[in-house]
Symmetry: C2
Subunit: 692 residues, 2 copies
């Protein structure tokens, strides 16, 4: 009887914490007795500083986390004694924070977190807590951390009606209906999660911007969010519609050189700052995919960006002007941003930064680096990554994106000779940048686990970590995230880390290996539709524009004999890409139209390698399932089963991709899929009609 | 220009013969020059006999086939000369035919086909043509062939409205609307195909019989079909509804002991024979699955069968009375036919034969033999096989059924000691049978390839061949069929024959290994629904009735401690099945409720073996795809692609089966699927709602 009662109580206790992923990587699980004894010896008291909302947050976060992890409620002390955690404001520290262990013969060990302001102290606190979550040694710390980019920003493509463009984790977190009267507790949770990884800016609304977002009505709502975010160090930004003066302000034009328009923007900026004194600035998608922009009035991107920049300048705001432009008439979409923006280099106002997607097309599973990086040397550039998996399997598939981000950050542009990696071209190292920034298109929504797929949390996490320190390795970040989010067990960590490390390449392989791009379905960007052909639609929205499959071969000729996009890169990259022999094979079909029987480095033909890559992708997905199924012992049933179920879908859809692409390309190659390889299980006829 | 014209002509020529499978195994492809030279030397003239429609058919068939295969139009000669094909009526030959090569010093070689009647001469002719299609040596023939069963019958489950119960190849071949005025050329093609493999009877309509089929209106229609079939040696039979006297005749009852009822059936028989003088007889499904029968009037199967037998006797007709009976209240459906029929043994009229399905349940992928075989020793029994793949993947999956038929035919009943195989218990060898017969539920329909799947033609073919000679091996029959239907190339034959040989076991493995049965979906008998539970439905129509999965184990306890169905078999079979140690593992779960951790012969547990079998099935299906893809070189594109496409579906659905069954049974076993094994790609949640 007693046992039964205990069992019931135990069951109830378990149910109190539904393992729905809502706690992200901030779980603060109870540590082993040995570890927690050690921590309790090192820290027995906290000496807080208390001058702001943020410093209160720091104390609360640390005390609560420490108690969760060790079971011990720490004492607060105003006087610094031994075994004390001490916070110090040190204005000499220009950026970031330091964490030092200080040994004093009299008072014993202290841990000192120092920074120039409360926000950086908060970052240092989260750093220390992360070490403890990972069961690290905190008895001998000598940490100095500086952020790589000053502005580490999430872009939310959230619409005013609560939907999210390319969102796969529910509806928008921002509840505009209820604001400003009622604000969701999740605004705080969101800010806390971001602060824990150093993110300090949020563009609340979609780049396809509704002008209403800068109306007085919505500024009042936004101010409420900004008030909550502020104490977590997060500044609010807004996407603006270039036609706002006419659409919102009722002016007859939005021409950037028009006086009334200029005045309207200045007044709008003044109004914004009256509600949100630390407002970050504007993000602008102009003259892109049907959005209005300065070119509608015969003006340039410079005219447009500077108009807004001048309006924001008095208040310290910036303009993030997107370089994502392409034109239906262009012969090669990959070239257009460079062609349009290079002539404007040096002409932008000093508080303008150009936001450039990592690759020249659009967040494909693999692209070469964008040629503007390193090229626009007189204008600040910022990288835009996509965290939401628009082209990498939505929240249905596990694709850990740190390898993609690192690949871009560490790609050599050769702008100033060897070693001029993208990271250094954008963080102020190689070129004087008045602003440094980095953006990631958020994958959050109101799903209880925030990101739809539990492993998609890792992409939010790794974006933040890399924005802080672009020299971190993918593996290091995965290790941190896994330990905090799931378990410190090596038997869990090692195989799952391997799975994460291989996951993005797996997606590349079963979707678009060897430099293929944009074979996605018209409607959803999830499944394959390489055969898509809609008469009268924009050719650069058709997969055939990208793959160029024909009887001879496959791939887009961007060499000097083709579109010459290679010429947009610095030597020797331009030559490396131009020559089929030196072009990296993982970008081969991006730069070359390659004959089906072309012999690749392994001695097999293009067709054989293509088949093999697709099969490799499928087999990797199957391997992920095997790896994951063995983790059941280490983690909670709820998240185990959720991920298990997603991995099933991933394998199934990997097969869908493989079959669709191989069967379609086979109609051109007219060669069998190598007979030793697993055969398709779909037919083209059936795939042509199958819908997502 | 000339080349283009030639090309056009060539293309047209190709299109004249669409490779749609309509020619079945009677293709008579042009042979190699060497072979055809040899045949032309051996046969230069045909000496026909001409006394019937059938003898005309023989001459036409041989001349046309010979010309197709060799390019040579043979001469006809009334006088027997050298190198002549001669036909001889020899009344001394009781059954079957002989084919002899006779060497005469004067006139050279002759080939002599001899038989007691024209129909057997036709069979001999098809035999010779088969040898030639297979490029056999015909210079030294000494063949004597006798059929194993006198009546070799197809059962068509065709309805009056043109639908086919369990038909997967289009609608019924019989066009009742147009008959008798217009008869379809396909009636002749159908009869010819059957004659070519020795089938000599056809039950035209569904055993779930509409009484209208024996109305005067429909007898006139049926007579037209019978007229066409007659010259090909095929007798027409009809399924009758036991309530016909009341439903069709308007009598107040259909009680078999009622005088009016008896008179009605006698007059009906007379009427039938006035239209169809060689009418074969009745097939009856009575007191089975809601169909009426003698038990409705408190009478027995004997009363019912004998009623009809007496009516047909004056005209030489027979009654095929089905033993497929089972009752919702029975504790074990597998036992009921035996329990109901054994007490009636010896009481049936001499022109009654009991038609018994191969296994005790219902055409499952694997069943033990039906216990009535060998047991009813004073009543003729006939085996009913199912050619249409109701439970073996419809016409979507490749499952060559000769191994299933042979397994049943060669199963030892031990009725008269060792070696009392089912075949010998039904062909008159062991028991005096006034009638010998065998039936197969047809898989034909009006699809251009007759059977939906090109390889399903092989099941029609092998049924006919085994009905003629039950000692043929599956492999031998596959070899014949492949050579005639596709190609004589060894590189084609060998792998495809292997695929066929393994195909039925593959289906067993991915659907219902180790003796499982009836896990099918309620509505379609195609996909898995092991979880099915419809409250208030007949329990013996629910999969759980058959698999009995629970926390302890899996399988139906039919041992002496359970339903004791084992006692219906002769010793030592009863003991072999009763003991878990001796029970064949491929029937283990048919006879035993086996604990999940029971160690099987290979040292692994039941659960592990179950998982492995399902995976083996999936891998076999994948292997079939690989084998088939390599055949493209040897055969026409049309059939290649058709089969290729079906094999894709088969692999996909094999995975569906594996996942559904393993995930469902896992909810009982509570054990992981062995980690080295490929993981499921479906979830139970999704499968529960997925529809066919």
């Amino acid at each position: 009887m007693k046992n039964i009662l205990l069992f019931i109580l135990f069951s109830l206790a378990i149910n109190l914490f539904a393992e729905d992923g809502s706690r992200l990587w901030l779980r603060y699980e109870l540590l082993s007795e040995q570890i927690s004894e050690n921590y309790k010896q090192i820290i027995s008291t906290v000496c807080p500083i208390t001058y702001s909302e943020t410093t209160k947050i720091i104390t609360r976060e640390f005390l609560s986390a420490f108690e969760d992890m060790t079971g011990k409620r720490l004492n607060l002390s105003k006087k610094r004694t031994g075994n004390c955690l001490v916070f110090l404001i040190d204005k000499k520290i220009e950026k970031g924070y330091s964490i030092q262990t200080q040994k004093d013969n009299k008072s014993g060990i202290s841990i000192l977190i120092a920074a120039a302001d409360d926000i950086n102290l908060l970052y240092g606190t989260f750093h220390l807590l992360r070490l403890m979550q990972m069961q690290g040694n905190i008895s001998d710390l000598n940490i100095v951390e500086k952020p790589a980019y000053d502005r580490r920003i999430l872009n939310h493509w959230d619409n005013i009606d609560g939907t999210i463009e390319r969102g796969y984790a529910g509806r928008s977190l921002w509840n505009w209906e209820d604001l400003p009267e009622k604000s969701d507790p999740r605004y705080t949770e969101y800010a806390r999660a971001n602060a824990s990884i150093g993110i300090n800016g949020t563009v609340l609304n979609n780049v396809n911007a509704n002008p209403k977002f800068i109306s007085r009505e919505y500024l009042i709502k936004t101010a409420e969010i900004a008030n909550i975010f502020r104490k977590w160090g997060i500044r609010v930004y807004l996407s603006v519609n270039f036609s706002s003066p006419s659409e919102l302000g009722g002016l007859p034009t939005s021409d950037p050189l028009n006086k009334e328009v200029r005045r309207w923007w200045k007044e709008k900026a003044k109004e914004i700052y009256s509600f949100i004194p630390d407002f970050g600035g504007f993000l602008v998608k102009a003259n892109s995919e049907g959005l209005p922009g300065p070119q509608d009035f015969g003006r340039t991107h410079v005219d447009g960006a500077n108009l807004l920049a001048e309006a924001l300048e008095p208040y310290g705001g910036i303009v993030m002007w997107r370089a994502f432009v392409y034109d239906a008439k262009s012969t090669d979409r990959a070239k257009q941003a460079y062609d349009e923006f290079m002539p404007l280099d040096g002409r932008f106002h000093k508080n303008v930064i150009i936001q450039v997607k990592n690759g020249p097309i659009d967040f494909q599973p693999r692209e070469p680096l964008h040629p503007l990086f390193g090229a626009m040397q007189k204008t600040p550039l910022m990288i835009e990554f996509q965290i939401t998996q628009e082209y990498l399997g939505f929240s249905k598939q596990l694709a850990y994106l740190a390898p993609l981000y690192v690949e871009c950050l560490q790609s050599d542009t050769y702008a100033k000779g060897k070693g001029s990696v993208t990271a250094k071209c954008t963080d102020g190292t190689l070129f004087p940048q008045t602003i440094t920034a980095i953006a990631g298109v958020a994958n959050t929504g109101n799903d209880s686990n925030w990101t739809g797929h539990h492993f998609a949390q890792a992409n939010w996490y790794c974006f933040g970590r890399l924005a802080w320190n672009h020299e971190l390795t993918s593996e290091h970040i995965a290790d941190e995230w896994l330990r905090m989010t799931f378990s410190n067990e090596t038997a869990f960590i090692e195989p799952v880390k391997r799975m994460m490390a291989e996951s993005r390449e797996a997606v590349v392989n079963y979707m678009m290996p060897l430099g293929l791009a944009h074979l996605f379905a018209w409607e959803h960007h999830y499944g394959p539709e390489p055969w898509l052909n809609i008469p009268d639609a924009r050719p650069d929205w058709m997969p055939s524009y990208y793959h160029k499959a024909d009887a001879i071969g496959l791939g887009f000729d961007r060499t000097h004999a083709g579109s010459n996009a290679v010429s947009q890169y610095f030597p020797p990259l331009s030559t490396i890409y131009d020559q089929i022999e030196t072009c990296p094979e993982n970008l081969l079909l991006w730069f070359h139209h390659v004959p089906w029987n072309y012999r690749m480095q392994n001695g097999n033909t293009l067709w054989e390698n293509l088949c093999r890559k697709y099969q490799d992708g499928v087999e990797a997905a199957r391997e992920f399932q095997k790896i994951w199924d063995k983790t059941a012992f280490f983690i909670d049933k709820e998240r185990f089963e959720h991920v298990q179920s997603k991995l099933k879908v991933q394998t199934r859809d990997a097969i869908w991709w493989r079959d669709a692409c191989l069967l379609y390309f086979q109609t051109f190659s007219r060669q069998p899929i190598p007979y030793e390889q697993e055969r398709p299980v779909h037919t083209l006829e059936e795939l042509n009609v199958s819908k997502f």
